[in-house]
Amino acid sequence: MIDKDMDFNALEDSAFRKLLEDWLAANYPQEWRQDMRRPFRRLRGDDVVRWIGMQLDAGLRCPAWPKEYGGMGLDFLKQSVHQEVFETYGVARVVDLAEVQIGPTLMVHATAEQKARFIPPMLKGEHLWCQGYSEPGAGSDLASLKTAAIVDGDMLRVTGQKIWTSHAQEATHMFALVRTSKGERKQQGISFILLEMDAPGVTIRPIANLAGEEEFCEVFLDDVKVPLANVIGGLDNGWTVAKALLGHERVWIGSPGLATRALTLTRTLLAARPHDDVLFDAYAACAADLHDLRWLYRKTCSAIAGGTEPGVEVSMLKVIQSELLQRITELNVELGGDDALVDGDSPVGDTVTDYGWQYFMARPGTIFAGANEIQRNVLAKAVLGLGSK
């Protein structure tokens, strides 16, 4: 049994691991588990709310949040155990921006009043959040965003367009970066605001992706009124607010969990056919790459757990992980051969898979959360000292 007032950090890692594993085995719905058909399953809508509720009741909500905000208060090492257990078990992913982004941002930058207004509902899953950052003209060059917010009394009037907003259809709220004034540099004059998705003037248009799912959206903002009380960190300070967190997020995004799932499919596909040296070698290349990523990831996590703050170097994990995932899913399509033409389920041995789905769902990894080209720019500059002249 999990006691919400437990000091999880005082537990032995193995005891903590067992606590989580036992709870998952007893409570996690089988139909949500990642499998050969949906190796990177993501929960949507009502399932997300139900899952948040389950974790809340069990004392497992928001592992990384401090206890004072209702989280588990896990230290870094316990957080990595938590992640490993959940990934190994096949717990479906959740786009939980409340837990990993907006919650921590508010903890650092919001006023007490703002925290009181927004943190408890996001903890309980009463508010679901989406992110309004990218625009058609502002992707990697996010600072060039144009959605404008004009001060009018005690309101901001917001007009513009956001794109690639994941799960906007199900969100109750959006945190967004908008332009409130013109500064010398484009990063100046940006504000971080919180708006309600059912406010007049908000229009959501889902976009179908290559896998045929409508996971992200365009969000049109037409003179949407947002109270100034919903500006976080003060006007024109949005760029700083948005950049401030993402310390450990940079680490988790490099986790070998997804690639491990994908490689399990590779093994399943290989086992369903006669042995072939060339194909085995291709698999071996991916297996060896995954092995090395796993050890680099563990080494990074150990260093952080030992007190070394993560540096820019850590973002190489994301580059490695996302590209490896693409290689593996591509190999899986190759192994599918002509069966990969099927848009939907294909039998493999005594299970089924969906060749296209797993391949397509691996494509965004090198594009979102900082395109790998940009990551390489940053690594070159900050780690290798290679400048612009």
């Binding site: 093994r267 085995f280 070698d281 698999y283 071996a284 290349a285 297996a287 060896a288 092995h291 090395d292 990523l293 050890w295 680099l296 080494k299 170097e313 190489m316 580059v319 490695i320 080209e373 390489r376 720019n377 690594l379 070159a380 500059k381 780690v383 290798l384 000292g385 290679l386 400048g387 612009s388 002249k389």
Partner: protein
């Protein structure tokens, strides 16, 4: 201070002193840093024995120690057979029960006037019959004074100045020399036979492979560093070539490759220290070798390219590294072979 902290500090000290010594060694005039001369100094510094427990005259640092030192040998590109004459025989000694064989071997390694080379590569299957050893081994560190080789389930210690011994040296791409050693009914100084000897031979080979991955990592790191220094100074079109994005991205990719090699070698070293003869350890060593091998070829290729025409000259310093990387990348199997070995083990596990 905790045991872990003490070990980390000792490892750091060993690394620093090895680095200092090796940097000095490679700055000496060619001809003055021969195998024979430098080996004496290497032994005096205790580098071959870093892995042995303290009560046997070592530093007690295990594979963490010998991979650290091997990496420095690679980094400095000192063409010294640290692995063949230091790491491998010492790993065999550590794996053997106390006795005449291990005492004799240890005495040879601890005395810098001798050079006991472990022969990892058979070119003709060895035969031990009637107390006499025949066979042929290639790519042996040269000039060695003694040889340690496996023959079936026996381990043999042979002096290389007796009857029935032919040594044919060749120049190696790492700047040193290697020899083919042929034995015809040579009489070993010592023979150890049985399961313990077979195991010790296997452990010596595993240690050679692991240290080699570390060596490749050091070579690659150094070649990469030199190339990075070059691109920051070389200018064309009014700017340094380091400012071009394709060069920057390719630099990052090499940095990533080197980081992965380091992590993989550390993982294998940890496994070796836990159980040097375990099949899982062999698998991790194979993975580390595959990674180091791929990285070696990658960095060698990029080092030449990023230097432009100069990269193709014998004179450029980086050229020595490119030659060494090329010659050593597949010394203990190709990346493909090693990944296959690793994946087969993982699959069965």
């Amino acid at each position: 201070m905790t045991q872990a902290n003490e070990t980390a500090e000792l490892l750091s000290m060993v690394e620093s002193s090895a680095t200092l010594f090796l940097d000095d060694a490679c700055s000496r005039a060619p001809g003055t840093n021969t195998f024979a001369e430098l080996w004496r100094e290497i032994v005096e510094m205790g580098l071959p024995l870093v892995a042995l427990p303290e009560d046997r005259g070592g530093s007690g640092l295990g594979a963490a120690g010998f991979t650290c030192v091997a990496r420095q040998f690679g980094r400095a590109l000192v063409a010294q057979p640290y692995i063949a004459c230091g790491v491998a025989p010492v790993a065999a000694i550590a794996a053997l029960p106390d006795g005449a064989f291990s005492d004799a071997a240890l005495a040879l390694v601890a005395d810098g006037t001798f050079r006991l080379a472990f022969g990892a590569k058979q070119s003709q299957a060895p035969l031990l019959a009637g107390g006499r050893l025949s066979g042929q081994w290639k790519l042996i560190a040269h000039p060695a004074t003694h040889l340690m080789v496996a023959a079936g389930d026996a381990l043999c210690l042979v002096a290389l100045d007796g009857a029935g011994i032919i040594i044919e040296p060749h120049k190696a791409l790492d700047g040193g020399e290697i020899a083919t050693v042929s034995l015809t009914e040579a009489v070993p100084l010592q023979v150890e036979q049985g399961p313990a000897a077979a195991r010790a031979g296997a452990v010596a080979l595993a240690a050679s492979r692991l240290a080699h991955a570390a060596l490749l990592g050091g070579l690659a790191e150094s070649a990469f560093r030199q190339t990075q220094d070059y691109i920051k100074t070389r200018a064309q079109f009014g700017q340094t070539i380091a400012s071009f994005q394709s060069i920057q991205h390719r630099s990052v990719d090499q940095f990533i490759a080197n980081s992965l090699t380091e992590a993989s070698v550390e993982a294998a070293a940890t496994a070796f220290d836990a159980d040097p003869a375990a099949p899982a350890t062999a698998a991790l060593i194979a993975a580390a070798l595959a990674r180091a091998s791929t990285g070696a070829a990658h960095v060698a290729r990029e080092s030449v390219q990023m230097h432009g025409a100069i990269g193709f000259t014998a004179e450029a310093d980086v050229g020595r590294y490119v030659r060494a990387l090329t010659g050593l990348a597949n010394f203990h199997g190709t990346a493909r072979d090693n990944r296959r070995q690793f994946a087969q083990f993982e699959d069965a596990a």
